[in-house]
Symmetry: C2
Amino acid sequence: MIIKGDIAYTPSPQELVTIEDGYVVVGDDGRVMGTYSSLPAQYTPATTGTLTAPTLVDCTGKLVIPAFNDLHTHAPQYPMLGNGFDCELLPWLERYTFPAERHFEDPAFADHWYRRFVNRMWRVGTLRFSAFASMHTEATRRLMELCQESGLRPVVGKVNMDRNAPEYLTESADDSLAGTEELIRWARTHTPNVGYVVTPRFVPSTTSELMRGLGELADRYDLPVQSHLDENPGEVAWVRDLHPDIPTYTDVYDRHGLLRDGRTIMAHCIHLTDHERDLLRDRHVFVAHCAQSNMNLSSGIMPARRWLDAGLTVTIASDVAAGQDPAMNRHIVQSIEASKIRTLEAKRGGNDGQASQAGQISQAAEPPLTLPEAFHMATKAGGRFFGTVGSFEPGYDFDALVVDEGENPLDLPVADRLERFVYEGDDRWIERRYVAGREVPEPFAQDTGRAE
Amino acid sequence: MIIKGDIAYTPSPQELVTIEDGYVVVGDDGRVMGTYSSLPAQYTPATTGTLTAPTLVDCTGKLVIPAFNDLHTHAPQYPMLGNGFDCELLPWLERYTFPAERHFEDPAFADHWYRRFVNRMWRVGTLRFSAFASMHTEATRRLMELCQESGLRPVVGKVNMDRNAPEYLTESADDSLAGTEELIRWARTHTPNVGYVVTPRFVPSTTSELMRGLGELADRYDLPVQSHLDENPGEVAWVRDLHPDIPTYTDVYDRHGLLRDGRTIMAHCIHLTDHERDLLRDRHVFVAHCAQSNMNLSSGIMPARRWLDAGLTVTIASDVAAGQDPAMNRHIVQSIEASKIRTLEAKRGGNDGQASQAGQISQAAEPPLTLPEAFHMATKAGGRFFGTVGSFEPGYDFDALVVDEGENPLDLPVADRLERFVYEGDDRWIERRYVAGREVPEPFAQDTGRAE
């Protein structure tokens, strides 16, 4: 397939490649063969090798960009989207989130709302994601089935919880592990396009025994892991109380085998010590930066520039529903906005209460995120979790969005049009969606009830 | 007219009144007569006085809320929406904004884009607003005509600029005043529902002579005034250089007769001295708080709680296009988010670089905005600028939105449903729009080109 349009992608954080009236050539294997400003002769039908009679998809005048990869979202929180913003993390869990997730013990409720969730991911152009389900094994199975049916390629995990939560949302460690292993094995044959991700909710909700069992499962089945880390000061203190023998929150995960090298996602990572930062870097952990959620729950602002400078892999994520927007472009914007506030904080010398060094920290010390950087963090940086995903370099899976922005009143170049889509666009602008080279039609459209 | 639905409004910042399956009774004069949880006998057709055979508009299951009032938006920046976020205020003006506003010297461009702007205001439920036009008299006239035709009831002003801007966007003080007075007189007969607001761009762009002339016009014709104030430190320093004899930026406006008591809007108001804060309070100035714009241009975070505590009238505004969202609900959310960051800053003792008092400032010192407070700031607080607007108390103009949120999965009470609309809703949720008791159909729908 050859797709013609106004191409934009970020092979690196500093580099936004744009090709107006360009071409992406996609092989039968669904991978990008190359991008071109004019179509090379070898891709005409007569001379193609692996391509037989390539289809030309003409998206002239429209943006063609990598689809979004959202490494931190809570599928069972979709029904509570937009509510509960009057408290911080720990009361928020007790007051809103645990009661909301409880509903997923009802299979009909789970089916109903997971259809809507998956439809919404498709709508907003998030074609791969890493989702927490609930602790309910059957509901999680349903979510994975629906994802497999939809054409999207996320990973999903049943949430493991055996302490410090309402009894209706906890199980014994044994039951939690059994349900997890059952799903892992089931998924291998039933959901080839939907991987399983081992999902301890966070340290306070999973005993050592459970964490150790999960680390073992992840190792045995060679699976990725996801959890939360250093989001809120009260949470950090709680972890210290629960594990006084372990120096840091990050070390708790590490000692239970849950920081699998290059295969782990940790959400938030705001209040890291230098040691934790280095440990995350050494384990090649994917940091899921959730700026909107962090503002909503008064968790603080993660210093994205400092973590990037320290060599961490930082991605942008939605954290539905502590984040109220499923749409990743809004999170790109909010991450940039948060980084601008952070830059001003750093200039003033503020640094989470440390001694002021006003005047000594230059304006350049913590420059804000640029649009290419943030776009990279929402596409290629998180895409690496799934493989060669999130860019249009040769060999990358062709995951893409075709975006129709409507009028272009100021005759903007492609880079500015991308910025406009990011800042101002919504799902109505997205015309087509491709996963691994295949166009994905709208899943479960008849179930959404209303145009959201 | 009697409208039945799930009523919500904020008669005061601390009070969200909700009436599930309630009624708003609207008189023939377009004003609210009362809200009720069940329809009183006197409003049945047989016994009505001022009402003759009231229409019942049945919006059962839908939210009925006051429409939004946006006291700070730049209509000619609508075509540049979503662009230009890589610099601070002063370079942003030079690089993006002045060139964009230049296009409005072309009457066809102005007509085309002002139709879209007005349509967009209608779509997002902003039924009254105070808009900066451009310095072009004819384009401004066109905007006022279109507004008059649309059924919305904004105020609009030609922007006065005679210094420190490109020559294509400046005029002599005389020409600027003449164009202004011409529009003022013309509007009185041609746009009865669209008032004129005297609009010096900001001190750096208007000489003393021009400011004085504008103050005089505002006084002679008894008109409101709008401008910008204390948005960016570089701007504040510039004003000091331009007027070294005048103690503060606010005093510059005041000394030129531009702080008309109870009839003035000042946007941003971030970097106020205590004296300026008190002066704004004494003049009953409407502060237009533009949290999103302030983040985008790295201007800082306006300390909303401190200004509210000091007795200022603080409203929420969009500042299109330094703010990228026309939709006021998003600005309600972003104002709350900004206030949460501000609360954390204040806790740490940070106060724009002042000596740290960590530990002495309690968490309660600057609590964040609540949803009712922020909703009040986007409806009633700014509504007062237009008269008795922005609430459903008796005597208030019935400006309202009917909102269909679709499914209510967790059987939420009305207050939570309002929160959900604010955090998660978009223009697609808004079903009906009323201004002064009359339903306003979509203006200029055929011109929008695309579904935005």
